[in-house]
């Protein structure tokens, strides 16, 4: 049986009919066509389905859609500006060559949004821990860390200006 939930998705209030058995991953992909949210394991181990719920990164594959009722959800589709400009984090991922197959990329970018949003500076070791909920088999994480570190620095510099 379908249930109605109210969720702010990428800044837009939505009224969505969901099956109460659905994961948030299912809802975002199948009902809202937000296909940046990737399915890699369905048990919260790979991090490919990471989205922000009320600003916190979660694995949407093990988060029931019903739980999102009344909350705010953000995916990579919500990062571009209204004019279509990329966010600084997305730019950093491109310029640091942090993308290979790209399947883990949207999820890691969402974690980066949470990390950058704390407004804190982190050591490389701390950043390793902060992205450790994402498995990437292509990059060895090296250039991903470069991109996240750069995003953090740019944000702090921007905030200081």
């Amino acid at each position: 049986m379908l249930k109605i939930i109210h969720v702010t998705v990428n800044g837009r209030e939505r009224e969505i009919a969901v099956d109460e058995r659905e994961s948030l991953l299912d809802t975002l992909r199948n009902r809202l066509d937000l296909s940046s949210v990737k399915k890699g394991c369905e048990v919260g181990e790979c991090g490919a389905c990471t989205v922000l719920v009320d600003g916190e990164a979660i694995d949407s594959c093990i988060y029931l859609a019903m739980w999102a009722d009344g909350k705010s959800v953000m995916t990579v589709e919500g990062l571009k500006s209204r004019e279509g400009d990329l966010s600084p984090i997305q730019k950093a991922f491109i310029e640091e060559a942090a993308v290979q197959c790209g399947f883990c990329t949207p999820g890691i970018i969402m974690s980066a949004v949470e990390i950058v949003g704390t407004g804190k500076r982190y050591t490389r070791e701390e950043l390793r821990k902060l992205i450790s909920g994402h498995l990437c088999r292509c990059t060895g994480y090296e250039k991903i860390l470069d991109a996240v570190a750069r995003s953090v620095e740019e944000h702090l510099r921007g905030a200081a200006d």
């Binding site: 890699g40 060559a97 290979q100 292509c138």
Partner: protein
């Protein structure tokens, strides 16, 4: 020059926006859901199946069992097909198997309106088996009286046994040992003999091998799938279904990694069959992570018995390898991987008396082993480089010196297959790497560690061929198509699988055609109905083999453009004068004639022209004549001479060359906890000219991380009694997280390879090879313990330290 630039990936924008479409992102709404039932025994026969309860589950559309599939056996290896029977891959699989050969074999499938209904129906299928003993290990499968898994194809479980030598054809290690004792005396010799072992590995591409299928308007069964090898999937799907190849269409969009698992035909044929059984309706077949780990492919667990003989002065005289590859239930790539392992073992060092290698590839009732990045060479180099360091230890010699003295030399040619080291950078890599790493200082510093935390350094070298010639066919094709604005599409049969192929092909095409990099649009999707033929992404072949096709198509495309440019310039007063570009073209003609002192009667030849930065320019001096946009618009719409400029090239490659490189690792070993911390890691690659520095670095980083997993944590375990996989998920199969890899220092020795289209040679796979044995050898220096088995888990290390009296 576009080649050699660190261009931004052509797909990066789409990927950071989440707009790049992968297989599952392209499914139509209201698609049916397919699920596979896997056997719960490792060896036996399905006697009967009761699907009555499953069919009653609301939403179930169809249940298909191993009794319903066509009587066709097909191969799955991502090798080019062969028209020579003895080179064909083994046809040992059906869509669903009655004869169950491993725990997890595909025996039935369900198609339902939703995935929960499909799951529920799976649980309601009752299976009656006739069970035989599980034989998941090589020992069990080769034991006297073991049940042959494929009695129709092999009388026992050995798929192939091969024997190869270096030196004399009848070289034998035993005989060499006797001769050496006579010639040099026993005290002048150092001998090492050991059993080394490697793990079964799951590829762990983050995108699962999903697919969806329907029957299109032309009556073609069309499968959109996450594959590295669309053209091969097309052929084998047709074979599996018993239908003509033209009736199958394969579409490959972006894929989330493959690493060789998707260099096999996986569930695409079954998915096609499922759609055909429900009137061609779209059916998605989602293979879960657990199913991917158990029932697709793995890297081979190969056990190696190695022997090495050297003189006290460090001259290696002879080595031997007996390699037993656990191939699992189905042949997949057959003996090719174990044979590759043996070949590199014998190639890497110059054994003065000779080398001997024997390989056995064995069917067992365990998950099927197939291709995985570097194709048998991580195992080969584990054997080779453990042995060489153990020899060095016994000789009391610096492992670097021993390698310098004995490794393969410039101009090396494998006498067996003729593959030749065309651009040799191995020693240069070692020299440059040792300097960067401070090998000598560190090696001396860590010579005498004591205490509960000990440090050491180790190294490993490797070589790797480029593509599969002459073992198999190498062919590739490419097409370029001009747009009205002078830009072009580049359509490659070769596949982007995350490695950056689309970007480097675009660089190559830009470099050779003269079009601007950002005005060449690569079509990333391969659709076998429209894409030119290529066998796909494997063997680190694409920049080399498909790159040559790309270069040739760009040359052809450029020459057709220049033909038209010459036509325009020669006819600027007559035909072209009627067009809106008359002024610009006749000005260009004047410019050209005055520069080259050409009379108005003399013909302007295409050879006088060149394309630079998407403009037609004078070859001499490079003066700009007109932009390609003018040419293209004219070529499309001229009433006098309209031509759609395209080019298509198919190129067979009959060349090969070796890449090589070295890895240096510095570790700290925490003895009581069995922990290895990597303090520094330097890797150098001799891969010819690097087409794109940034993407190349990314590949090397990723490969090293896989090798670190190989060294320390990855091990797919199969229960020896039941044949059941124990760790079929990403929690228990431990690939490194960001916290488990160190920062890596990498570099390249860029020597132009004469056979590569742009001086390049293989790079995709080599980074996965050397870090594991380098780490092992660093642990050896730190602790004096030479580990025999990868991965060196904490438990194994502690057991070895206890045995060695360190704890």
């Amino acid at each position: 020059m576009e080649v050699g630039q660190g261009k931004v990936r052509v797909d990066a924008y789409a990927k950071v926006c989440g707009e790049a479409k992968y297989t599952a992102d392209l499914e139509p709404k209201n698609i049916l859901h397919g699920k596979v039932l896997h056997s719960e025994i490792a060896n036996g026969l399905v006697k009967s199946m009761d699907i009555s309860e499953a069919e009653k589950v609301p939403g179930v559309v169809k249940v298909l069992t191993c009794f319903d599939v066509p009587d066709c056996q097909f191969p799955t290896a991502g090798h080019p097909w062969s028209v020579e029977e003895k080179h064909q891959d083994i046809c040992d699989r059906r869509l669903l198997n009655r004869r169950v050969r491993f725990y997890g074999d595909d025996i039935a499938c369900v198609i339902a309106e939703d995935e929960v209904a499909a799951q529920q129906a799976l649980r309601k299928i009752k299976v009656e088996y006739e069970e035989y003993p599980a034989i998941p290990t090589v020992e069990q499968a080769m034991a006297e009286g073991a049940t042959p898994l494929h009695p129709d194809l092999r009388k026992d479980n050995v798929i192939v046994h091969s024997h190869m030598t270096m030196g004399k054809a009848d070289f034998s290690f035993e005989k060499a040992l006797e001769e050496a004792k006579k010639e040099y005396g026993e005290e002048e010799l150092v001998y090492v003999e050991e059993e080394l072992d490697t793990p079964r590995i799951s590829h762990c591409h983050i995108e699962l091998p999903v697919s969806w299928a329907y029957v299109d308007n032309n009556g073609k069964v069309t499968v959109t799938c996450s594959t590295q090898i669309p053209a091969i999937v097309k052929l084998y799907t047709a074979m599996a279904l018993g239908i003509p190849t033209g009736k199958v269409r394969i579409i490959k969009p972006y894929i989330g990694g493959g690493f060789g698992n998707k260099q096999d035909v996986l569930y695409e044929p079954l998915n096609a069959f499922m759609s055909m059984q429900v009137g061609g309706r779209p059916v998605r077949l989602e293979i879960s992570r657990e199913e991917t780990i158990i029932s697709t492919r793995t890297r081979h667990k190969i056990t190696g018995y190695v022997r090495g003989l050297a003189k006290r002065d460090g001259t290696i005289l002879a080595r031997s390898l007996d390699a037993y590859a656990n191939n699992g239930a189905y042949a997949s790539h057959g003996h090719a991987i174990c044979a590759n392992c043996c070949t590199v073992f014998k190639d890497l060092y110059r054994d003065r008396m000779g080398t001997e290698a024997d390989g056995w590839t064995v069917y067992t009732s365990s998950p099927t082993a197939g291709a995985m990045r570097a194709y048998g060479i991580p195992q080969s180099i584990w054997f080779t480089e453990c042995l060489v360091d153990d020899l060095a230890k016994k000789l009391g010699m610096d492992p670097y010196e021993l390698r310098m003295k004995n490794c393969m030399e410039e101009g090396f040619r494998d006498p067996g297959n003729g593959i030749t080291f065309r651009s040799y950078g191995l020693k240069q890599c070692m020299e440059k790497g040792a300097e960067l790493f401070h090998w000598t200082e560190k090696r001396e510093k860590y010579g005498h560690e004591s205490g509960m935390k000990r440090r050491g350094v180790g190294m490993a070298i490797f070589c790797y061929k480029t593509g599969v010639h002459p073992i198999s066919l190498e062919t590739a094709s490419a097409r370029m198509v001009l747009n009205q604005d002078g830009s072009a599409q580049l359509i490659m049969g070769a596949t982007e699988i995350g490695q950056g192929a689309d970007t480097v092909f675009t660089q190559m095409a830009a470099d050779t055609s003269g079009l601007r990099f950002d005005e060449i649009y690569i079509v990333s999707t391969q659709d076998t109905d429209v894409t030119p033929f290529d066998t796909g992404a494997y063997a680190s072949r694409q920049t080399y083999v498909s790159g040559m096709a790309c270069k040739k198509v760009a040359e052809e495309f450029r020459s057709r453009i220049l033909d038209y440019a010459a036509y325009m310039l020669n006819n600027s007063v007559e035909d072209i004068s009627k067009t809106i570009y008359a002024k610009e073209v006749s000005r260009a003609e004047e410019k050209l004639r005055s520069q080259l002192s050409l009379s108005p009667k003399e013909k302007i030849l295409p050879e006088m022209l060149e394309i630079v930065d998407s403009r037609v320019v004078l070859k001499e001096g490079g003066e700009a004549l007109f932009p390609l946009s003018i040419l293209a618009d004219t070529a499309f719409y001229s009433l006098d001479r309209a031509v759609h400029i395209t080019a298509e090239v198919s190129n067979q490659c009959k060349d090969n060359t070796f890449s090589s490189g070295v890895c240096f690792a510095e570790v700290e070993v925490d003895l009581p906890l069995g922990l290895v911390k990597i303090l520094d890691l330097v890797e150098l690659h001799d891969s010819g000219i690097i087409i794109n520095r940034k993407t190349a670095e990314g590949q090397v980083h990723g490969g090293i991380a896989q090798s670190i997993g190989y060294a320390l944590s990855e091990d797919l375990l199969v229960d020896e009694k039941t044949g059941r996989v124990l760790n079929d998920n990403l929690l228990d199969f431990k690939i490194p997280t960001a916290m488990d890899v160190p920062d890596m220092r990498i570099d390249f020795v860029e020597l132009e390879d004469p056979t590569g289209p742009y001086g390049n040679k293989s790079l995709g796979e080599p980074p996965t090879i050397a870090a594991a044995p380098a780490i092992r050898n660093a642990v050896l220096q730190a602790t004096g313990i030479g580990m025999k088995v990868a991965p060196m888990t904490s438990q194994r290390l502690i057991e070895a330290f206890q045995e060695g009296g360190l704890l």
